[in-house]
Amino acid sequence: MQVVDQGGDKMVLHVGPQHPGSGHFRIVITLDGDYIIDAKPDPGYVHRGAEKMAEYRTYIQNIPHLERPVIIDATGITLPYVLTAEKILDVEPPERAQYIRMIMAELNRIISHLYWLAIYGIFLGHSTMFMWPMGDRELFIDLAESIGGTRVTFSYVVPGGVRNDIPGGFKERALKTFQYFEKRIKEYEEIFFNNPLMQSRTVGIGILKKQNAVKLGITGPNLRASGINSDTRKDEPYCFYNKIRFDIPVYKEGDSYARCMVRLRELQQSMDIIRQVLDRMKPGPIKHVIRGVMRGEPGEAFVRTEAARGTMFYHIVSNGERFPYRVKISVPSFRNLIGMSHLLVGSRLADMPAIYWSLDYWPVEADK
């Protein structure tokens, strides 16, 4: 959308970092009347130097601090790190460990999407939609906690496998939770997604066109909402995603509503993936124990995976020491930030929350 400068007074508005609709992030908006004519994001409030810290920690010590940037999607960010480190260390994890990693990754995707949905509800002034997903999220946190040991920060995936096996009775509890949650998804649709109030605030708002999405490098659910069938789980399968049958939800519209619907459908997809994985899993070892200090060969490796927000990319350079020489993380949220300033220009100020959080931008992840 193009806005013609009509002259006259402009207003500059600073949103954040102390603002209910911004989080740890600031955006400077220039307004002409009700329309946004310029949006300059100001990230970096949570820059903690995770990449630099990774250079003076061993491969195993790096896991806890690397999962803090995306604390809601902890496995989503540690799994690609571990896969990359395994290439450097030349370790092959056992089959059962690969399946357990997939379970954790998909559970984390559900947890992350439910948190997003809760906050999106509050952004649109729908308090029920904050309470319901927050409550249902606790059920999935319970499942993940029974495997990983803590509520959100598991440090569960380690080079060579996973820390411990899944507990007995997990399958029954998981299937029971999924059965309950499938009913809830229908209720979510009734109360929120088919709600005319919600639709009037999101349908046709913040349209990200196909070519712009590609040009700006948007990944993950936001890209799929713009009509591009792209998912790293399908395109470059890691773990055993090539043995699992699942569909990728794709919407053509590219507006805020489509981005919401993609995430709602992904909740269902993740549950289907976990069901198939639970059926396919066989008993066996869960960890390839690495004796002594983990010390990789000189060289470099990179891995791309699909986290909850999009493609998570790791590039590790090793010079044969105990510590990695360089760890580069390319996070999906930073691309969403670029997309956000593109989408905000030309929209109304009142649409800002609907556009902002529909991109699922997590400032801590973008700042690293």
């Binding site: 970092p17 102390q18 989080g23 740890h24 903690r48 810290m53 003076y56 309470m131 920060t153």
Partner: protein, 170 residues
């Protein structure tokens, strides 16, 4: 007669006695009443500094429900807030903003340092961009350990803060 030194002495004694009576019988109930009023209407500032904010969000959710302990949900306007929950790591860029937020809040105000990073830097103790402990820039009333603290721990910290408010002077 007014300049009589004995009378002055008498007036001084009487005022001491009077103040004592007020101290015991009036000020104490008023102090109790004011503190009781502040106790169960704590309103936190919506300032998220890092990743502990998701556990703060989970604590406001239906399972843990902070509101039943007298802590309202995070709110936008600083001028009506009386508690600042520092939710995790404070970086160099966030630290001056957080101090401004604290200075703009009306008295009385309390600060909770939530998470290991807010207490001492925590996991980021050797990071170049992280403030090693938030008590260097704002006075902290309650420290809640954990990385991140569970919502139950946060609730316990808030009950500790309420105990502190109950005993505080007016």
């Amino acid at each position: 007669m007014v300049t009589d030194p004995t009378l002055n002495l008498l007036v001084g004694k009487a005022s001491d006695l009077f103040a004592n009576v007020i101290e015991k019988n009036v000020r104490e109930p008023i102090r109790y009443l004011i503190n009781w009023g502040r106790l169960y209407s704590l309103w936190p500032v919506h300032l998220e500094t890092a990743c502990c904010s998701i556990e703060f969000g989970a604590a406001s959710g239906p399972r843990h429900d902070l509101e039943r302990f007298g802590m309202l949900e995070a709110f936008g306007s600083l001028r009506q807030c009386d508690i600042l929950v520092v939710q995790g790591t404070v970086t160099r860029k966030m630290a001056p903003r957080m101090k401004w937020v604290y200075e703009q809040m009306p008295e009385p105000k309390w600060v909770i340092a939530m998470g290991a990073c807010a207490i001492s830097g925590g996991l980021y103790v050797d990071s170049y961009n992280v403030l090693q402990g938030v008590d260097k820039i704002v006075p902290v009333d309650v420290y809640i350990p954990g990385c991140p603290p569970r919502p139950e721990t946060l609730i316990q910290g808030i009950i500790e803060l309420q105990n502190k408010i109950r005993k505080s002077k007016v």
